[in-house]
């Protein structure tokens, strides 16, 4: 097994870091604090090719493998971008666009992917509902077939990019009597009568990403907007979740590298008791522990990417292990990074508090740690 990046991946990583540091990073803090989505940065990510990296060239992509996507995501984190922007990118590219790419017809791909790859349009994915989170099979949004149309009724909750999305991939029950096997996926476009989004929720972290409710009231969509087969929705969601647990985690791993760099610099510069705090063993241990987390987390994330590139379509166990490790085990290091900065760590300027707030999502979004452990225990 070869853990080295190719020369091309290394060069691309450098370019992504340079691009993100210069073009995007300077705008992050303001958007995080105001809780505003940064449309300009998002478009720049599209122009640079990040949003459509793994799609084929004829759909506006760059034909990248999963590993390269992970490297790009890690680079965005290493450049110090906030978790809100990288979550918006992840939900857009992997939860929405990739689902259309992986399960859509050629016509659906050609209609939606190029605009999503360029960032011209923004995508979201709606699975969670006000009454159904962990228990996915219990979703109650219905899609009823009437002639050549489906009529959607119900609502979704906590949907990243919800208020700003042009294209939504929405999971709904086509057969109410079935559990998993009754779920189907649909493409719903902004502006469709009966489809609306709630106001952005005011969140603890990932604040520059907009999260909201999606509401469907007799929302009629053409039958051709069904993705794949009726009843295949749950499997699609499971495949998506795997992206969620690899490529969406990559910016987070990169973000911890950024934080570690800040911590090392601060520990060397800050003097107490007549010497740099870096000389105190308690501080050294914190730095070491952040590093250990990064190395382990990166290996787990790379491993899923590697599995996917080997042509293994589903890697539930690897994905669940990575998700759980990153979700739960990042909280200690993210907290240590704040502590290491003392009072300054509690202030926005040093960014470690933002990382701390953003990190708190990892054990919740894309399946809680409790649920992830349940999956792991079932698979072993």
């Amino acid at each position: 097994m070869d853990f080295a990046l190719t020369d091309e991946q290394k060069m691309f990583k450098e370019q992504v870091i340079r691009f993100a540091t210069k073009e995007i990073k300077p705008r992050c803090q303001e958007h995080d604090l105001k809780g505003e989505f940064d449309f300009e940065s998002f478009r720049k990510l599209g122009e640079f090719g990040i949003l459509g990296l793994h799609f084929p060239e004829h759909l506006g992509g760059s034909d990248a493998d999963v590993m390269t996507c992970v490297v790009a995501g890690e680079a965005l984190g290493e450049a110090g971008l906030d978790g809100g922007l990288t979550l918006a990118y992840g939900a857009h590219t992997f939860l929405c666009a990739d689902t259309i790419f992986a399960h859509g017809t050629q016509a659906q791909q050609e209609k939606y992917i190029p605009d999503l790859a360029s960032g011209e349009k923004i995508g979201c994915m709606g699975l969670t509902e006000p009454g159904a989170g962990s228990d996915v099979a219990s979703i109650s949004t219905r899609a009823e077939k009437r002639g050549d149309r489906y009529v959607l009724n119900g609502s979704k909750m906590f949907i990243t990019n919800g208020p700003i999305a042009d294209v939504a991939v929405v999971y709904a029950k086509t057969d109410r009597d079935q559990k998993h096997a009754g779920i189907s996926a649909f493409i719903v476009e902004k502006g469709t009568p009966g489809f609306s989004a709630g106001k952005p929720l005011n969140k603890m972290g990932v604040r520059s990403s907009h999260t909201s409710e999606l509401i469907f009231e007799d929302c009629e969509i053409p039958a051709e907007n069904l993705l794949g087969q009726e009843g295949a929705g749950f499997l699609m969601a499971m495949r998506t979740v795997e992206w969620d647990r690899s490529t969406l985690m990559a910016p987070f791993v990169g973000g911890m590298t950024y934080v570690l760099r800040r911590c090392v610099r601060y520990a060397l510069e800050r003097h107490q008791f007549g010497r740099p705090i870096a000389e105190f063993q308690a501080i050294k241990h914190k730095l070491a522990e952040i590093k250990i987390f990064i190395e382990a987390a990166r290996s787990l994330v790379y491993r899923i990417a590697w599995c996917k590139d080997q042509g293994r379509p589903l890697n539930h166990l690897e994905a669940a292990v990575a998700k759980l490790f990153i979700g739960d085990w990042s909280l200690g290091p993210a907290n240590d990074a704040v502590t290491l900065h003392g009072g300054y760590g509690y202030c926005h300027e040093y960014e470690v508090e933002r990382n701390f707030r953003d990190s708190r999502l990892a054990p919740i979004g894309g399946g809680t740690s409790e649920i992830t452990k349940k999956i792991i225990s079932k698979l072993i």
């Binding site: 020369d7 060069m11 691309f12 370019q15 691009f19 640079f48 090719g49 760059s62 990248a64």
Partner: protein, 264 residues
């Protein structure tokens, strides 16, 4: 329009530079090497001209094998071919020797324009470009912030800032232009660009391939010698002006500027 761009590899400007124990050079162990930023402006300008007029962009680098990376970056940005002049005997050469080797590699290429950076951000000599033009027997226009090639592709107007004004210079082709900050915003290499660069030709040439005598290069061949490299003086700690009211603080500041800093 065929364009040659010379590329030097320099320590990343973010790198913390440490002076080596000989007090004449720097410690190169942990350095991140990048394309000289001024050369990047040259690459970008060449690519824009190629997009407008067609033709080929050839990048020429000189130095150890690691310079290949910077050449590949230029290829990934869109240049067509690369030449790396690499030879152990080049280690320690001065700017004039570098220009000689570059001239030998470039003289047989077809070119209408040559770009170099106005200087390398490492040694700040600013000599290689002008020397190269001289050795090739072509005109040299320095410090370009704007380059306008005539529609017929036969001449070029170059803008250079001089003390708040702009000097516009016209030259026939071929000409060597040194690039200054402000010329353009270099592009980033895209993933497709990087993948394509893998297959683009990169030729390596030694001094003997270029018909040059290695005795004229390296430390021995230097016409100028580095005597000493000293670190910048330690900065004194800052001072916070104390006072109860803004007036008091201003008066104290004025006193300090007058009596201690002696600037007013």
């Amino acid at each position: 329009m065929n364009i040659v761009v010379c590329i030097k590899q320099v320590p990343d400007t973010e790198t913390q530079i440490k002076i080596a124990s000989d007090n004449k050079s720097i410690v190169t162990d942990d350095i991140k090497w990048v394309m000289n930023p001024y050369d990047e402006f040259g690459v970008e300008e060449a690519l824009r001209l190629k997009e407008k007029f067609g033709g080929e962009v050839t990048v020429v680098g000189l130095g150890p094998k690691r310079v290949t990376e910077s050449l590949r970056t230029a290829l990934a940005m869109g240049a067509d071919k690369a030449v790396l002049i690499t030879d152990d005997a080049l280690e320690g050469s001065d700017s004039l020797a570098v220009a000689k080797a570059l001239a030998a590699a470039i003289k047989d290429l077809e070119y209408d324009l040559i770009f170099t950076g106005q200087r390398g951000v490492d040694d700040d000599m600013g000599v290689a470009g002008a020397s190269l033009a001289e050795l090739l027997g072509i005109p040299h226009v320095a410090l370009a912030v704007k380059v306008e090639v005539a529609e017929d592709g036969k001449s070029v107007k170059v803008h250079r800032p001089v003390e708040g004004q702009t000097l516009v210079i016209e030259s026939g082709l071929p000409v060597l232009i040194t690039a200054q900050k402000g010329l353009n915003e270099p592009r980033y290499a895209s993933l497709p660009g990087i993948m394509k660069a893998k297959k683009k030709p990169l030729d390596e040439k030694s001094l003997s391939d270029l018909g040059l005598d290695s005795a004229q290069f390296g430390q021995e061949g230097r016409k100028v010698k580095v005597l000493e490299l000293t670190p910048p003086p330690e900065r004194a700690a800052g001072k916070i002006v104390e006072g109860e009211t803004p007036q008091e603080k201003a008066a104290e500041l004025a006193r300090l500027l007058h009596e201690e800093a002696k600037v007013i």
